[in-house]
């Protein structure tokens, strides 16, 4: 998963980014002013955007409006220091999906971010089931037919992304875009390595393959 943080307080942005990387394994991009934030949000596809409201150059509300006007469905979680009802109502009406008032709890921010990603991909439950494969996104465990499978961090992230789009063809570029931050291009060869590692671990002791290759298009996770 790839997350954009737009926050002008560099230290706060850095703390959020670090905790998203460490505990959820997400790829994180940080923008410290509105212009940069707006540019990144429009030129990349993120799985969730964390947006501060008071920003130099362009405020959070404007960015939100622009994202929605461009027809992007990316879930947006607004970080605000104000908790007046009016501004929250305005935010939600402008297309925000959720909000947190500062100072917030990093654990709560993480949980809300995960929930927004799930719902953004039509997955209301944190446990994704495909055939006999069970993926728990809350504690990042994978089981197949009751047997726990140990994955590396990158293998898990690939599987998680595929599991959130079951039955759909996911291209290599899409995977790269969502698993790495802005300099993903230099990782372009590693996806095959993770996919083959995943196949080996998942299909061990089972006669049915779960990850299929669609030649020239990408990968698909289905029973």
């Amino acid at each position: 998963m790839r997350v954009l943080i737009v926050e002008d307080e560099p230290r706060l942005a850095e703390n959020i980014a670090r905790s998203l990387r460490e505990s959820a394994g997400y790829a994180v991009d940080v923008a410290t002013d509105g212009q940069e934030g707006s540019f990144l949000a429009e030129s990349n596809t993120y799985d969730v955007v964390l947006l501060d409201l008071m920003l130099p150059e362009m405020d959070g509300m404007q960015i939100l409006t622009r994202i929605r006007q461009a027809g992007q469905h990316t879930p947006v979680l607004v970080l605000t220091a104000r908790d007046e009802k009016e501004s929250i109502v305005d935010l939600l009406n402008a297309g925000a999906d959720d909000y947190l008032t500062k100072p917030f709890d990093l654990g709560e921010l993480l949980a809300r971010t995960k929930a927004l990603i799930r719902r953004g991909k039509g997955q209301p439950s944190p446990v994704v089931t495909i055939g006999d494969l069970q993926l728990n996104t809350a504690n990042r465990t994978v089981q197949r037919a009751g047997r726990t499978i140990l994955l590396t961090a990158m293998e898990y992230r690939v599987l998680e992304y595929l599991a959130h789009r079951p039955g759909a063809v996911v291209s290599k570029t899409e995977l790269l875009e969502h698993l790495y931050d802005y300099n993903w291009e230099k990782f372009s060869n590693v996806i095959e390595v993770y996919i083959s590692g995943l196949r080996r671990k998942l299909d061990d002791g089972s006669d049915r393959q779960l990850i299929h290759t669609v030649r020239g298009q990408g990968y698909i996770l289905q029973d």
């Binding site: 002008d8 307080e9 230290r11 706060l12 703390n15 959020i16 670090r18 905790s19 460490e22 505990s23 410290t32 002013d33 008071m54 920003l55 130099p56 150059e57 220091a81 104000r82 007046e84 008032t101 500062k102 100072p103 917030f104 709890d105 990093l106 654990g107």
Partner: protein, 475 residues
């Protein structure tokens, strides 16, 4: 304890007291006048009776000229319980007769004609003396000198007193009835008169922090006496609302400013605890937290300074202040900022023209100068010059000008630079460490001394801040 006072009660009391005084005066005058008239009438009656008694005096049949009193025709007394009494004196013959009930031992000394009062055994009498009354009886061919008579006639005053009393009672009862009617009428009038006030109070009770509208009842606006009240209420509400909105904005801004460093601090500590770290990471995290705390502390200091400055804005001129030299405070402030200036290779030029004396707290003035100097230095380019000039217009205010040659203020920011927490470009000022409070504090302090502060972009380049402080009474 404070007694509550009622306008209605006071008006009623005033009406009742004035009416009662009027009634008492009327009663007194009425009784006095009635009594006078009745006594005068009685006096006339006494004279008439004295005349009829005089008519009973006759000459004896001989030619001696002696007189006698024919008591067979004495007029009957008006009041049988307290009969009249009289005596008749003749010029030469002396006492001619006395009525049988003439009080024993009572002698009336001779004197001119008049009327007077007399009390006999608790019964008041009116006495009348009539002299030089000729004897009506005349003999034909009289050769002696005719005698004149003096008659003293007394009649009881009881009836007069009774009538006076009756008149008094009549006036008193009539006055009481009129008084009652007046009270009722004035109660009605006062209640109607106070109605607009009650309407106004009911409307005023609806005003709250959420709703500052006070729809003035038409009656209240049309009432001349309430005009000053309604006008000042409207003005007061406007002032209140303005300061309330300002206060709320300040609270919102302060909350925002405080929450951001707290959020940073909290996230740093939480991410530090998120998983085991090595001591180097812990050390870095604690270091960061400390820096955030220091920033928070500085912000709190600035906010307290602002609060103090604004508090003084209301009471500064009431404090006992000594005459101080504005130039000296400027010199001191320049000295104190020199460290910062040197670190940015900025030089400060101070142009003064002798002492300028003002009654002020030197700390206040220095705080103003320091804030302005700090801004000027921060926005000056590396190696720039900040110019400070202290001048005194003839008879006018002291003028202190701060001029830098930096980036200036964006025109859209100019009207707002003195607002609390206003930062034209948050990223820039945050980088320079400001909170957007320095100019607000300077403004509050300058205004506390009745002065003005303005900011403008210099025609060449940079910002010019002008402070004017009135010196009236100081020199």
């Amino acid at each position: 304890m404070l007694r509550s006072k009622s306008i209605k009660g006071r008006l009623i009391a005033t009406v009742v007291i004035s009416q009662a005084l009027l009634a008492a005066g009327l009663l007194f005058a009425g009784v006095f006048y009635t009594h006078r008239r009745l006594v005068a009438a009685l006096d006339a009656g006494l004279q008439a009776r004295a005349m009829s008694v005089a008519a009973l005096v006759r000459y004896t049949e001989d030619a001696s000229g002696n007189l006698y009193f024919d008591d067979s025709l004495v007029p009957r007394s008006l009041d049988p319980d307290h009969p009249d009494f009289f005596e008749v004196w003749a010029e030469r013959s002396g006492l001619l007769t006395r009525s049988p009930n003439w009080p024993a031992g009572m002698e009336i000394p001779a004197g001119p004609d008049h009327h007077w009062n007399l009390t006999l055994g608790n019964v008041p009498y009116r006495v009348s003396r009539v002299s030089h009354v000729p004897v009506l009886d005349r003999e034909e061919g009289q050769f002696f000198q005719p005698q004149a008579l003096t008659i003293v006639y007394a009649s009881p005053l009881i009836r007069v007193q009774e009538q006076t009393w009756a008149a008094g009672v009549f006036i008193a009862v009539a006055s009481l009835i009129l008084l009652g009617a007046t009270v009722l009428l004035s109660l009605y009038g006062i209640r109607r008169g106070l109605l607009p006030l009650q309407r106004l109070a009911a409307q005023a009770a609806l005003v709250s922090a959420r709703n500052w509208e006070l729809p003035m009842p038409a009656e209240a606006e049309q009432t001349t006496e309430l005009r000053p009240l309604t006008d000042s209420m409207i003005a007061m509400l406007e002032r209140l609302e303005r300061s309330f909105v300002q206060q709320r904005e300040f609270m919102g801004n302060a909350a925002h400013e405080l929450k951001t460093p707290v959020a940073v601090l909290k996230s740093t500590l939480q991410s530090l605890l998120h998983r085991p770290r090595n001591s180097e990471e812990y050390r870095a995290g604690v270091q960061e937290s400390l820096e955030d705390l220091e920033r928070l502390e500085r912000l709190l200091q600035w906010m307290l300074r602002l609060a103090r400055a604004e508090q003084w804005a209301h009471g500064a001129l009431r404090r006992d202040l000594e005459l101080i030299d504005i130039t000296a405070t400027c010199e001191e402030a320049v000295e104190r900022i020199r460290g910062l200036a040197q670190s940015r290779h900025t030089s400060i030029h101070l142009a003064t023209n002798g002492k300028v004396l003002l009654r002020a707290d030197p700390e206040d003035l220095q705080l103003v100068w320091l804030n302005l100097l700090e801004n000027a230095v921060r926005y000056s380019p590396e190696g720039g010059v900040v110019e400070v000039a202290v001048t005194r217009k003839d008879g006018g205010p002291a003028q202190i000008i701060f001029q830098d040659h930096g980036i200036g203020i964006r025109p859209e920011d100019l009207p707002h630079v003195f607002e609390r927490f206003y930062r034209g470009d948050p990223s820039r000022t945050r980088a320079t460490g400001g909170f957007g409070l320095g100019l607000a504090i300077a403004k509050a302090l300058v205004e506390a001394y009745g002065g003005t502060i303005t900011a403008e972009n210099a025609p060449t380049r940079g910002t010019r801040v002008t402070v004017e402080l009135p010196l009236n009474g100081s020199n």
